[in-house]
């Protein structure tokens, strides 16, 4: 048990890898056995990750479950895993959606089943690794590793223009990430020789004590921006997203929308903001403008789509705009809402893609005009669709409302204008989702082929039910989620806005009495994993 507790992150991250490895030894014809093994490992991955929720010490709020091993001594890269509240939530989101995605593929995938599950499990490893890594080099490795399985999932099991979409996804993301690598390297060489390391905490401590020169720092920030913004994706880097989402198989779309996009926003919140707070301030307006354009543009384009899946894909652009807007409010409400909205988007949009996938599996078309009056033939389906659709558009008592409301609160505190623009996005969001629901579910069944559609079976309900439970939980009682986010978010806010917020000894935010604060921001460093614990206490401002 002690071993498990100390290595929980590694165990969580590599459980799918074990599954993928085992699958290699299966005969590719014994499809059911392969499906069982994949599902067992998907579920197992979820089970082993659950203790994170209970074991994470919310009062401390730093990085926990640290694992540290020497890896490449010559360049100062180590194997460091660790998680704070933000990562814990994202890890749990990944394991939940991963298990659901695997379960949802049971009948949808009929050819090359073995390879399919191997790639799906490998993808899971890459994504979990990204959220667990506290070493920049390791982070980058996982960040890129996950591209390959995703490429295959779209390219082999996708629909229509799958090859085009797959390579577009791969190239777009790769361009962003290699430029990001250059940014990482500039930070690395900024450290003095002999102390160079990719250790996140060490790097942050050093950067706060000796910031980069302005021009270079902006280059680094923009390099990070390119890597993360393409992933998010922010307008105008979003063009890969509708193609990849539309052509990916259902499980691929769920993972892509639910988890992969969060890697971009996670990158901003974990690296851009705390490492380069001044530059984040400098580019704040640019990000906010792009985010607002994304919110409104995504919603408008979604409204005009004839393809059901493409509509959901564009809605992601809009929702991720909210996440970015909340993040760059630089106040506790905005950031809390932003992280919570990441989770919400994973639940709602993941659910919406499942919904599309279920009907696509039956009819093999995604044209909205092909469907009408489905609520008469598939009542259970229509019910689940309604709950998830309402959660996505932000109805009170469901998760989307909490996230969007908190973000708007944060935006309002930062600037009334931003909030006003963002509200337009919410209205448009309600419009395209309700219109979609009306066109597909209500009315008469006009298409002959739709008359005999089967309603959901037990397995299909099992993929949707957990999402609905989570949506209601967050919508009705979000406190546990805010509680786990509170301290980590406070640290980031205090790092980025040191003149407005500072940390007290308990990790709570206080408004500084003394307006002339030192330029060195309080450091979210954890003595447990910082080799030089003096750094954190030295740079932390006096509490009042």
């Amino acid at each position: 048990m002690e071993f498990f507790r100390q290595h929980i992150l590694s165990i969580t991250a590599y459980t799918p890898l074990v599954g993928a490895f085992l699958l290699m030894f299966f005969n590719k014809e014994s499809k059911n056995a392969i499906r069982w093994v994949a599902n067992i490992f998907g579920f197992l991955g979820l089970i082993v990750s659950l203790p994170l929720w209970f074991w994470y010490d919310r009062a401390d709020g730093g990085f926990q479950f640290i694992e540290r091993h020497e890896w490449i001594r010559a360049i100062g890269a180590s194997y460091i895993f660790g998680a704070d509240g933000i990562s814990v939530l994202l890890i749990l989101l990944t394991t939940v959606l991963g298990a659901i995605a695997i379960l949802s593929s049971w009948t949808a995938i009929q050819n090359r089943v073995k390879e399919y599950y191997i790639f799906l499990l490998l993808l899971q490893v890459g994504m979990l690794g990204v959220f667990c890594s506290l070493d920049f080099f390791l982070f980058y490795v996982f960040w890129e590793v996950m591209l390959v399985p995703m490429y295959f999932l779209i390219g082999v099991w996708g629909s229509d223009r799958r090859l085009y979409s797959a390579i577009k996804f791969f190239l777009y993301t790769l361009v962003g990430s290699v430029v990001m690598l250059l940014g990482i390297l500039v930070l690395y060489f900024h450290m003095p020789e002999g102390q160079r390391s990719f250790d996140y905490v060490q790097m942050m401590t050093y950067l706060h004590s000796t910031p980069l020169a302005g021009g270079v720092a902006r280059f680094v920030w923009l390099a990070f921006f390119l890597g993360f913004a393409i992933k998010v994706p922010m307008f105008p880097f979003h063009t890969w997203l509708p193609d990849a989402h539309t052509d990916a198989p259902t499980a691929g779309s769920v993972i892509l929308a639910g988890v992969l996009l969060k890697m971009g926003t996670y990158g901003f919140i974990r690296f851009s903001l705390p490492l380069l707070p001044n530059e984040s301030q400098y580019f704040r307006t640019m990000i906010v403008v792009l985010a607002i354009i994304g919110i409104i543009y995504g919603a408008l384009v979604a409204m005009m789509q004839k393809d059901w899946k493409r509509l959901v894909a564009y809605s992601s652009v809009s929702h991720l705009g909210f996440v970015m807007l909340g993040m760059f409010c630089f106040n506790p409400n905005g950031l809390n809402g932003s992280v919570l909205q990441m989770i919400n988007h994973g639940i709602s949009t993941g659910g919406l893609f499942l919904i599309v996938g279920l009907v696509y599996e039956r009819r093999h078309t995604r044209q909205i005009s092909e469907y009408s009056g489905l609520s008469h033939v598939m009542p259970v389906y229509a019910t689940y669709f309604m709950i998830i659709m309402l959660s996505s558009l932000g109805l009170p008592l469901l998760n989307g409302f909490i996230g969007e409301f908190t973000i708007l609160q944060g935006a309002f505190q930062a600037s009334h204008v931003w909030a006003a623009f963002a509200v337009i996005g919410i209205i448009l969001g309600a419009a395209y989702l309700l219109w979609l629901y009306q066109r597909t579910m209500f009315g008469e069944v006009t298409n002959e082929k739709n008359k005999n559609l089967k309603d959901l079976n037990f397995r299909e309900v099992a993929t949707l039910f957990p999402l609905v439970v989570l949506a209601v939980w967050i919508g009705v009682y979000p406190r546990p989620f805010f509680r786990i986010l509170e301290k980590p978010v406070n640290r980031i806010v205090a790092t980025v806005q040191p003149d407005k917020f500072q940390l007290d000894a308990m990790g709570n935010l206080v408004t500084p009495q003394n307006k002339t604060v030192t330029p060195t921001a309080p450091v979210a460093s954890d003595p447990a994993i910082t080799p030089s614990p003096t750094a954190s206490s030295a740079t932390r401002p006096e509490k009042k």
Partner: protein, 483 residues
């Protein structure tokens, strides 16, 4: 017996090469007594020779001998490269036997020529004297010309050899002209003396510039830097695939090592002159190699243009001219040996009875016919593209890091964008293998030698990617260049 021209240590310094020469000649003699079915014994003879040479090299690795009045230096830089050459040559010999049998040209002189060219390469990394270096270069190059044209009845092979030879001879002439100019300027052919004399000359000396440019042109031809690259795709396509595997790895490294030695020992004082020159060549080489590779339909030509692009990446390390850069070049050689030989071995295995197997379309549906080979090819392609956790990423990481450290930010951006472009054509191969249906039923020629090489290269491609520490440590021995 010993006098001022000849010391006992001289023999020790070149002991591995003596062994190689002995075995090379031995292959030629043994070959006379072998029947057609037993030609594979030639390969064994050559491998034994390489084994002995490796052992001898292992014994003298720390001696740091200077021999023949300083014309030859066996420092850790050259020892590192000799090990890489031995590994590459051994791997190539493993894949040759079955391939040559299918081509119907299995003779002993093939192995002898490979060993002779190996000796040439060894002296290229050990030499400290321009004349020694030039002779070594020619020994390597002449062996290569013959090997490229080894398929006597194949017109393409002959044409490739002819082009390669004519252009090669031309570039050697230019190189010699540069050498003579340097000799005229400095009065010595010893690299170290040249370095000292050049440092005493005024900066921006036009004569030194001419010497530099002619030398650079001759050397860049050997590594196929743009605009001296035209010979490479034709030679690679026409040559027997096993020989292409060879010349895409070892001789290229030898030429790079030669460039490193000349630039960092003799022409160090001219660094401000050659850095901008190399930046231009480097950008052109990477970009042209990658962009031209996109439109290739022949796998050999695709890999040929990719190897041009990789030469461009390697120049990043020279431009950076710091420890990261030199270590990066060394680690890249190690990595490139495994991943490139691996990829070429798959191409070699594509040569089946009555099938040339060099069109990308002929790889269709390889995953259904030979799933293991297709998966390995995927790993090699990802490694060539520099995607972690393969070895290629570690190599690229070092080179990109080097240019960032020397603050050539724009160059670094161009380089990484090139890496992204390259992914596109490597993935084209993967698409054909994994996503197209198979067009024929003919299985690949997986002889024991090919399987061995695939296994070895794949293991190292992944191992260096996942745990590079010991390999980096090994590569750092090449830093002796700076001392």
């Amino acid at each position: 017996m010993f006098n001022q021209f000849f010391q006992p240590s001289d023999i020790i310094a070149i002991y591995p090469q003596l062994l190689l020469a002995l075995f090379g000649l031995g292959v030629l003699i043994v070959d006379l007594f072998l029947d057609r079915e037993w030609k594979v014994l030639n390969a064994f003879t050559a491998l034994v020779g390489i084994g002995y040479a490796a052992y001898a090299l292992f014994r003298i690795r720390n001696f740091n001998v200077t021999a023949y009045n300083g014309a030859i230096v066996n420092d850790s830089f050259s020892v590192f490269f000799q090990f890489v050459f031995l590994i590459a040559t051994a791997l190539v010999i493993f894949i040759s036997a079955r391939y040559l049998t299918i081509e119907g040209e299995h003779r002993g002189d093939y192995y002898a020529l490979i060993l002779f060219s190996l000796i040439g390469m060894d002296f290229m990394v050990m030499g400290m004297d321009l004349i020694t270096l030039y002779i070594a270069l020619e020994l390597m190059a002449v062996s290569e010309y013959i090997l490229v044209g080894y398929l006597r009845s194949n017109r393409q092979s002959n044409e490739a050899a002819m082009k390669f030879f004519l252009l090669g001879a031309f570039s050697s002439g230019i190189l010699l002209y540069g050498i003579s100019l340097l000799y005229g300027l400095c009065g010595s052919t010893d690299l170290r003396v040249i370095g000292q004399r050049l440092a005493e000359r005024p900066v921006h000396d036009p004569l030194a510039m001419i010497a530099l440019i002619t030398l650079a042109a001759g050397l860049l031809f050997k590594v196929a830097g743009v605009p001296f690259h035209q010979w490479l795709p034709d030679a690679y396509e026409g040559a027997p695939s096993s020989i292409t595997t060879f010349i895409s790895v070892a001789p290229k490294f030898a030429s790079f090592a030669l460039i490193l030695r000349i630039l960092f020992v003799a022409l160090r004082p001219l660094q401000i002159e050659w850095t901008p020159l190399l930046i231009v060549v480097c950008v052109l080489t990477m970009t042209l190699g990658n962009i031209t590779a996109i439109s290739q339909s022949n796998i050999k030509r695709l890999l040929a243009y990719s190897s041009i692009a990789h030469a461009g990446y390697l120049m990043l390390g020279i431009i950076a001219a710091n420890e990261y850069g030199i270590t990066g070049i060394a680690i890249y050689f190690l990595v490139y040996t495994f991943m490139n030989i691996g990829a070429w071995t798959v191409v070699v295995a594509m040569r089946r009875k009555d099938m040339i197997g060099d069109q990308i379309s002929e790889m269709s549906g390889m995953i259904h016919k030979n799933p293991a080979a297709a998966t390995l090819m995927l790993i090699f392609m990802l490694s060539l593209a520099g995607i972690p956790p393969t070895a290629g990423f570690i190599g690229k990481y070092y080179l990109f890091a080097a240019v960032i450290q020397s603050q050539h930010y724009l160059l670094a951006v161009i380089a990484v964008l090139n890496a992204a472009i390259s992914l596109y054509y490597y993935m084209r191969v993967v698409v054909v293998m994994f996503m197209n249906e198979k067009t024929d039923e003919e299985k690949m020629t997986l002889s024991p030698g090919v399987v061995t090489v695939l296994a070895v290269t794949c293991v190292f491609t992944l191992l260096i990617g996942v745990y590079p520490q010991p390999f980096i440590h090994f590569a750092q021995s090449s830093l002796a260049l700076f001392q």
